[in-house]
Amino acid sequence: MRAATFQGKGDIDVRQMPDPAIVNPRDCIIEVTSTAICGSDLHLYDGVIPGVEKDDILGHEFMGRVVATGKESTLEVGQRVVVPFTIFCGQCFHCSEQRYSNCDNSCPVEDQEVAEKAFGHPMAGMFGYSHLTGGFAGGQAEYVRIPYSDVVPLVVPEDIPDERLLFLSDILPTGWMAALNAEIAPGDTIAVWGCGPVGLFTILSAFQQKAGRVIAIDGVQGRLDMAEQLGAEPVNFHETDILDALKQMTGGIGPDAVIDAVGMEAHGFAIDNIADRIKQTVGIGQDRAHVLRQAIMACRKGGRVSVPGVYGGKADLFPLGAMMQKGLQLRTGQTHVRRFTAELLDLIERDVIDPSFLISHRLPLDEAATGYRNFRDHQDEWIKVVMHP
C-alpha cells in the first residue's frame, strides 16, 4: 500500500509499505477513504516530538470502510467508520471512567517506558504519533490496522459525506472537550488563543455550550476572519497588546475562562517566546509556552484555564504564582474522543453544525509532502488539508 511516511525533520514521502493484516483478535483493517493533516502532525514534521522514526506512517485523523475483521471484532466488512486518534481498550480502570486517552493497556509494554520517564506514567496508544504513544501506523495510508475495533471506531451513517464526519476523529471532539474543560456558564466571556482548526472548533463549541462572547486571538488574518464568521471577536496579536486588550474588552475583569489552542510551538516576538525559541534551538529548552503564560496572566480571578494545545516537555517561567494567587483551575489532556462522538454525530446529523467549512484544500495522498509544507508555511490560506488515498 501507499502511505505518507516520516523521513526526517521536514521530510515527508509517500512510499510503498506492507499492507496491514489482523494481528490480534479484536483488530479490524479499514480501507481509508479520507484522512487529514492535523496541526499536531506539524509538531512531528518539525521534529519537536521525540520518538518518531524513519518510515513511520503518519496521520491520526482518518475514516474509511472495514475490509477485514478479527474473530473478536464486532464490526462487519463494508461498514463505514470514523476512527478516534486515541486507541483504548474499553476495559481498564481509566476506560471504565471514559478517560479513554489515559488507557492503561493500548500502548505496547515495550513503548511505555520513555513516556513513563518523561511524564510519570505511560500514555495510551495513538495512531501515527511517535513511539511515545506506541508507534502505531497512522491513517495517511491506503489501509490501517485498528486495534480494539469492537470499541474504538464509530460506525457512521451512509448518507453523510466524509467531509462532514472526518473531524469526529480528533479536532471536533478536541474543540468540544476544550470548551467543556473551560466549564462555560451561560453568558461567560471566553478567550481562545489560536484560530487553527482546533481553535475554530473550540470557538464553535463554546457558543454551542452557551458562551456569551468569544474573543479569538491569532496572528494570521485569514484565520481571524474565519473566527469572526463563527461569531467571535478577533484580536490580532501582531497589532494589539493582548493583556491590555482583554482587560479593556472585559471591563477590567478579564475573561471568565481562557483556552490555549496553540500548544508548544507558540509564534510571535514576545521576549519570553524569543528566549524559548533560542533555548529550544540550542537544546536547553523544550516547550515554547508563551501562549499559556499569557492566558494565565489574562484570566480573571477565580477563572478557568483549558489547554487543548499539545505540550510534550517542560516549560520555563510558568506563572504558578498567578495560578495560585488568582485561584485559577487548569484542565487539560489528550482528548477522550469517543466520549463525545455520539453527541457530536447527533449535532451533525441534525445539521446544527457542519464541520466541513474548515476544509481549504483537498489533495490526493501522493501530494502529502506538498500538503505538509504548505499547511506549515502558508497558514493564511491552508487552513485544513484533507487527502484521499
Binding site: M17, P18, D19, P20, A21, I22, V23, N24, P25, R26, E72, C89, G90, Q91, C92, F93, S96, D104, N105, S106, C107, P108, V109, E110, D111, Q112, E113, G125, G134, G135, F136, A137, R145, P147, Y148
Partner: protein, 204 residues
C-alpha cells in the same frame, strides 16, 4: 611548628576526620519507619545478601482470576521476561521465563513454598542454579480500581556466576522486566490480548 610536625598532625587530623566520618555514616539511621514499601528505599535496597526489587500494577479482576491467568494462560507464558510461571504437570514447580532461561546453562527452577488464598503465592529457587532467588506475588484489594498485584523478588547471585550481568544492572533489568510482565498480564486479563503496534503477525 616544624614541617614534620605539620605532616604528623595533618595526618592525624585527616585520619580522625575520616574515622569520624565513618562513624557518623554508620550511625546514620538507615531507613526510618514509614508506610513506603522497603524496596522503594533510596539506599540499601537489600535484605542481607539479597537484592530486593519488584513492581506493582492494579488489575480489574479478582485475585482468583489473576491467579488463574498466571497459572493457566499459555498466551502469557512466552511473553514473560522475569516472572516464573507454573509448569503444567507439577503445579508447585515454576519454570524460568525467557530472560532467566537465557542467562545460564543451568535453568533456575523455583518451587512454590507458601500460598495464602487470595493473598499470597511465594516461591524459592532450588538446586544449584546461578542464583538464589525468593519471590512472591501478593494481592491486595484496591477498591473499585481492582486488585493491586505486587511482585517482589529477592536475588542473591552466586559468586563468580559468570552468566549474570553485574548485580546493579541485573536489579534494574529485573525491576523493569517484572513491571513489563505484570503489565502484559493485565492486558491479557482485561482485554484478552497483548497490545502491539505490529502491522502484520509476521512483522518484527
Amino acid at each position: 611548628m616544624t614541617i614534620a610536625n605539620w605532616a604528623r598532625y595533618g595526618l592525624a587530623a585527616t585520619l580522625a576526620t575520616a574515622a569520624g566520618g565513618v562513624l557518623i555514616y554508620r550511625r546514620k539511621p538507615g531507613i526510618n519507619h514509614d508506610a513506603a514499601p522497603a524496596r522503594s528505599a533510596r539506599h540499601r535496597r537489600r535484605f542481607g545478601d539479597y537484592r530486593v526489587t519488584g513492581a506493582t500494577v492494579t488489575i480489574r479482576a479478582t485475585p482468583e482470576q489473576i491467579r488463574a491467568c498466571w497459572q493457566g494462560n499459555a498466551q502469557l507464558w512466552p511473553a514473560l521476561e522475569y516472572l516464573p510461571f507454573p509448569e503444567g504437570n507439577q503445579p508447585d514447580l515454576l519454570l524460568p521465563p525467557s530472560e532467566l532461561r537465557d542467562m545460564a546453562s543451568r535453568p533456575l527452577l523455583t518451587r512454590i513454598v507458601a500460598e495464602r488464598e487470595d493473598e499470597l503465592i511465594a516461591w524459592r529457587s532450588e538446586g544449584e542454579g546461578h542464583a538464589d532467588m525468593h519471590g512472591r506475588l501478593r494481592f491486595r484489594d484496591n477498591g473499585a480500581k481492582g486488585t493491586a498485584v505486587e511482585v517482589i523478588m529477592a536475588v542473591r547471585p552466586h559468586h563468580f556466576a559468570s552468566a549474570w550481568k553485574t548485580e546493579a544492572m541485573m536489579a534494574e533489568a529485573l525491576e523493569l522486566g517484572l513491571l513489563r510482565d505484570l503489565r502484559r498480564m493485565r492486558m491479557l486479563i482485561e482485554t484478552g490480548e497483548i497490545a502491539t503496534a505490529r502491522m502484520r503477525p509476521d512483522a518484527a
